[in-house]
Symmetry: C2
Subunit: 193 residues, 2 copies
DNA sequence: AGCTATCTTGAATAAACATTCAAAATAAAG
DNA sequence: CTTTATTTTGAATGTTTATTCAAGATAGCT
């Protein structure tokens, strides 16, 4: 007997970065070999194929970002400050210009959800979980009296997500940091109204 | 002497469709040959290379969509009804599930703007033109008394564009037509407030 | 220490890829 | 009709691609 040698999480994070920099289709197995330090055979043994590695990376990415998301709200005293801090972090991501800070899930939604059923299912599920988390935040914000209950928490969550998707795409076309920050503030105001 | 035989616009529209269905990277020259009916040599003679064909398709796509956009607002009696009709058409696009109805510009922003300077420049410029058009619509809506002048028209335009980008990405992950329609209505309300 | 099951290695493979180019075709000019 | 400039053709090119697999290495068990 013999156990696997590589650190699965480290490999997946390396693969994530490769996919984020070039996108799924432009990232070659050679790129992935270099990024992960794994030889082709090992990759195929562990993840079946290139798409399997993407799906595994997507799962890991979701775990990592979920932890980050929870940490942001845990660090804040109330839901509204949490939302403020969260949007600040989104703005930072948009403005950084660093591909490894961009959102792999959104990239994958745009690049492969349309043509790959399996990826579509995973990404759809992840989006629903994100929605559910944000819905709870808005419920909490209402309880805390920070926002009035004029809209359903679920719809607020959906509007926020739409806004974040939009900000990320917009910031690729328009790199002005002030504009992005202003739009994010407006989004928060609209979603809390 | 001899003039070119193919219909440039028809070729570009065929290429557009190919790019929209598979994305830029997954669309092979063979796909483009089949879609356009042009042999490789002709494509290279007319558009330099695959990226040249994409850039030309992007220009044509923008012309076509701009015409469509203007037509929507021309057909409506006032700016606010125009916005309503425009968002209805965006919802229809999102809900159709037809790749050839999706937005090539947005697809290109997400797929190649990050790695290709030339494409980034073209797409950025197109986004600015879109913004400018929508700004004029909001100015008109204010003049018509349909909305109060509490926000700058430019910011309204930017928020609308962010919302549309977001809606298109969201609809790839969540295919529920009612949800998309509700979110679009909310977007219009927020942007006109 | 020796055995064995499992993992790692990386060269080999075949398919797909973007691109080139010389030959053939053809439209316009004379 | 002939000439000429230009386009069209499509096979050939050399790369790059994802994937496989047999040989070698190694960890854990007895």
């Amino acid at each position: 007997m013999r156990s696997a040698e590589f650190d699965r999480e480290a490999v997946l994070r390396a693969a994530m970065n490769a996919f984020m920099e070039k996108g799924y289709n432009k990232t070659s197995m050679q790129d992935l070999k270099r990024a992960t330090g794994l030889h082709p055979g090992s990759i195929y043994c562990a993840f079946e194929n290139k798409k399997g590695l993407l799906l595994a990376s997507l799962e890991q990415y979701n775990l990592d970002r979920s932890d980050e998301l929870r940490a942001i709200f845990r660090d804040q005293s109330d839901a509204l400050s949490g939302l403020q801090a969260y949007l600040d972090s989104i703005v930072a991501e948009c403005v950084s210009g660093d591909p490894t800070q961009s959102c792999l899930s959104q990239k994958a939604i745009n690049e492969i959800a349309q043509t790959d059923e399996q990826a579509q299912a995973v990404l759809s599920q992840q989006c629903i979980m994100w929605q559910s988390f944000m819905k709870d935040i808005f419920i909490q914000a209402e309880k805390e009296g920070a926002i009035k209950g004029e809209r359903l928490p679920e719809q607020r969550a959906q509007s926020l997500i739409v806004g974040i998707y939009g900000l990320r795409t917009f910031s690729q076309a328009q790199k002005d940091a002030d504009v992005i920050a202003t739009l994010a503030n407006q989004l928060l105001r609209d979603v809390c109204r």
